[in-house]
């Protein structure tokens, strides 16, 4: 198991933290957003339900937009645009 943070295009990133439990997904998500520029988008993939609540509230507080949030095949996909 390894965390993956990849640049998938111009201003788009992918953070895969599947397999990780609290607090790793939220810490990696926060750090990824810190490394990105305003307007960049990251697709976060995780499978720890508790972390999603924290990530959603973190985005709400800071002002990042959650563009999409869906669950498929036991994995949770959260697309965040940095503001």
């Amino acid at each position: 198991m390894a965390m993956k943070f990849e640049k998938t295009g111009d201003g788009t990133y992918m953070l895969d933290v599947c397999g990780y439990v609290c607090p790793h997904p939220q810490i990696y998500c926060k750090k990824s957003l810190e490394k990105m520029n305003e307007g960049d988008v990251v697709q976060v993939i995780l499978d720890n339900p508790s972390s999603v609540e924290t990530i959603a509230q973190m985005c709400d507080q800071v002002g990042h937009d959650i563009l999409e949030r869906k669950t498929e095949g036991g994995k949770i996909y959260v697309k965040i645009k940095k503001s």
Partner: protein, 483 residues
């Protein structure tokens, strides 16, 4: 399809719990005492999972991500629970007892706080996460809270840390007839008999100041609920708002209004913080109420059966020939661990000790199991059934929400689960409780030592978060080498 399968699983698990309860009732009506623990555990598990209610998250997410969701939930639960506790105390229906007060509580909280951040969940959080299929939490609970805790109270490896004065104080007590000399064998025994037992226990309503100034039942509501819980919790909510939420909220509000913000906006900000995660806050309210109901039911059963501890029921059943108790199942005081309310770690230590005995380890030659808590067979250990209930309650809720996923720990998670679990196991013993028994229950019951444990827990969580920040920064830097 997946949804249907999860619903079937939820039904099977609930049916199994009903079947177990019915079997207990059929064997002996006294086992309704165990059944009550099972179903309160089941309810806690469902609520914890639904609200993502983890005490580790309360301080960790605040420091790691600036998110107050869980801290708010815990404080709301405390406020409601304290009012129920006061009502129960005023009607003589409370099973609450305060704990020895001292610096040991702060130190234990510090160790526990670091452990809960490393393992990814507190003592109760680890159980509900096992119910979600998270096996890192199972590693923490089994190796740390069960085995690690049991070993901790039974070994003399820490005698080098025990001051001579504690040994002398323990020897004095033995010379006076209690505790029995053959039960003082471990470092933890010297700690208990030579230090902790001499510390004062404080419950605000029972202090001279409050009991003389507040006659009758008002002392429970004013001293225990208002002064020890409601005011500090409200102050903490305000502090959290000020440092973590205020700036962002007022910025947004000023943008919406196109101008200055005032005191009304501050109040809106505070309310917005409290209601930001409705599922957590609502569960905070319900958990507070259910934890109070739990005390009410256990006290009611104690009154019905004419006992103050389940050990007396076991002894009664043994004398009637209904069961055959083994030596040491019930402590030398005739008791087993039976808190009468929500508790997590002691019963897991008992399970660990029971397992270690199967490998030839004598776990009854110490004060913790031999004199204080007994070591009953798991099937007749009431508090252990509460923990099992939490796991299955959480599993049902996770299944119903399609959130159950069996996940074995891989790589570094083995290390974090093991190290965190051991720190939680060790950190819950000197304080005689964990985030539930030493923090949640005590504060709401009017015991200020709960806040001391909380301060330790938050400080430990801060250290844990600092460590994980450093660790994740290194990994992120490696990942970003490519771009």
């Amino acid at each position: 399809m997946e949804e249907k399968r999860n619903q079937i699983w939820a039904l099977i698990i609930t049916g199994l719990m009903i079947l177990i309860s019915a079997m207990y009732y059929k064997v002996n009506v006294y086992y309704m005492y165990v059944v009550a623990y099972i179903w309160f555990g089941f309810a806690y598990g469902m609520m914890l999972q639904y609200g993502r209610f983890c005490f580790a998250s309360a301080s960790r997410d605040l420091f790691a991500a600036g998110v107050p969701r869980m801290a708010v939930g815990v404080l709301v639960a405390l406020m409601f629970f304290s009012l129920i506790q006061a009502s129960l105390a005023s009607t003589n229906m409370s099973t609450f007892h305060p704990a020895p007060f001292g610096i040991h509580t702060l130190i234990a909280g510090l160790v526990f706080g670091m452990g809960m951040v490393l393992s990814g969940g507190c003592a109760s959080g680890s159980l509900y996460k096992i119910g979600e299929g998270n096996m890192t939490s199972a590693v923490a609970a089994f190796f740390g809270l069960c085995i690690g805790q049991a070993i901790f109270v039974d070994v003399n490896w820490f005698n080098f840390m025990i001051p001579q004065s504690w040994m002398d104080a323990a020897a004095d007590k033995v010379a006076k007839g209690f505790p029995p000399a053959d039960k003082i064998t471990s470092s933890f025994d010297y700690y208990l008999a030579g230090y902790v037992w001499d510390k004062p226990s404080i419950q605000l309503s029972h202090t001279k100041v409050f009991s003389s100034a507040l006659p009758g039942i008002t002392k429970y509501f004013i001293a225990d609920a208002l002064i020890n819980t409601l005011i500090p919790a409200a102050l903490l909510l305000t502090v959290i708002y000020y440092f973590f939420v205020r700036k962002g909220f007022l910025k947004k509000r000023a943008k919406q209004k196109g101008g200055q913000t005032g005191f009304g906006d501050e109040l809106s900000g505070l309310w917005n913080m409290i209601t930001a995660s409705k599922r957590t806050t609502i569960m905070g309210v319900i958990i507070g109420i259910v934890a109070g109901l739990h005390i009410f039911v256990m006290k009611g059963l104690q009154l019905k059966y004419g006992v103050t501890n389940f050990g007396q029921i076991l002894t009664r059943m043994d004398k009637a020939g209904d069961i055959t108790l083994k030596a040491g199942e019930v402590s030398t005081k005739g008791t087993v661990f039976d808190p009468g309310y929500w508790y997590i770690t002691s019963q897991e230590g008992q399970l660990g000790a029971w397992i270690l005995e199967k490998f030839g380890w004598n776990m009854r030659d110490n004060l913790f199991f031999g004199v204080n808590n007994g070591l009953p067979e798991p099937l007749r250990n009431p508090a252990l059934w509460m923990s099992i209930g939490i796991i299955f309650g959480a599993m049902v809720m996770a299944r119903l929400n399609n959130e159950f996923k069996f996940k074995m720990p891989k790589g570094e998670l083995w290390v974090w689960g093991l190290a965190g679990g051991l720190l939680m196991g060790w950190g819950s013993r000197p304080s005689l409780g964990c985030n539930i028994g030493a923090f949640f229950i005590r504060i709401a019951g009017g015991d200020p030592s709960g806040w001391l444990y909380g301060l330790g827990m938050v400080s430990g969580a801060f250290i844990g978060v600092k460590f994980f920040n450093w660790w994740s920064e290194r990994k992120m830097a490696k990942e970003m080498e490519a771009f």
